[in-house]
Amino acid sequence: MSEEAHDVGGAAVAAPPMNRMVVAVLAMGGFFVALYLFSHNLGLGGPIVCGVGDCATVQSSRYATLGPVPVSAIGVLGYVVLLALSFMGLQPKHRESRMIGGLLLVGSLGGGLFSAYLTYLEAFVIQAWCQYCVASAIIIALIFVASIPEVARLRGGS
């Protein structure tokens, strides 16, 4: 997929940035992973079925919530925001938007750091692994990598 500019009605319009497409697809996947965990937090799905690891241990630990808010709910919200930002950033009039690029970078970096902290808790504090949490950590890391081209967009500016 190319990213060359083209005209719409005589005005130059940038091609849809591929990195934002990747972010959108990954955020959609991450959203459902987080939604799955959140549905179990709400008691809609019964015990979490895990092939490996022990999600129940992780999900029932005190680290599974921040105050009254389940961590999975934060994940759902975070992925919705990233999905919305990337989707918006694909629309013709926002394809060169520095603000959306900056928000994507900050959002993915914040999500990645939070996810790294949760992974640390799994490894060293709870000492149990939930593959859905690991999957989410991988997805947010990939989203961050896919957001790096936004740095060039921020520097180039338009």
Binding site: H6, D7, P16, M21, G29, F32, L35, G46, P47
Partner: protein, 251 residues
Amino acid sequence: MSRSDERRKAREQGGSNMTKFYVILGVVAIVGIGAVGYSVTSSALGAAAMEPVEVEGLDDLTLLAEIAQGVTKGDEDAPITIIEFGDYACPGCGGFALSVKPQVELLLVETGKAKFVFYDFPITTIHPTSFLAARTARCAQDQGKFWEYHDALFRNQASWRLEASPIANFLGFGEDVGLDADEFEACVKSDRHADLVTANMRLGYELRVNSTPTIMVGRPGEFLQVPSATFQGIQEAMDKIGSPENAGGAN
């Protein structure tokens, strides 16, 4: 190629990329909706937690005898052992637990004449939640409250035995008997003890248990199956086992 042709081509290229993007995004969305929807609407309980699991070594009777473990009440050195193979969702077992077991405990176990051993024997074909119930009792055992929880399950049997998803009931019973809620819930919502319950079921089948409650009375190597799960039946079986002509005899 003219400038307008290039613009048209670029527009088409951009549109084509967006079309591919929407298709991929749609596929991810459909898969996600399907997976989460299936998780929520299908059996509310994990299959592995509800059913017997594969446990290696159960075909070897010596190994089976080591893996299967009953829970004992009373003096380990009591001369007579009273065994129950029970199903927490079975009304007959509920009746036994509420009316016969207290007499057994008071008159035979607490007096040191016998010890009482409970083995899980969930009949999952007619009681779909009984395997889970047996596991939860073992989770309570992890916290040293097996008998309190065991009794709570039977005492409240009518409230959960027909529920499709009695997990909330089980967690409530755990709270009632003073279990650590987080630890108990983590155990309940996992496959923990599925192997043990499976082994106990297998032991029952090997001993030709085909209904619950099945009561056996005896000592190692010589057990009588009690024809009726009543206190009188148990007392009679104990008399037979204890009588000189049966010592070292009946199996």
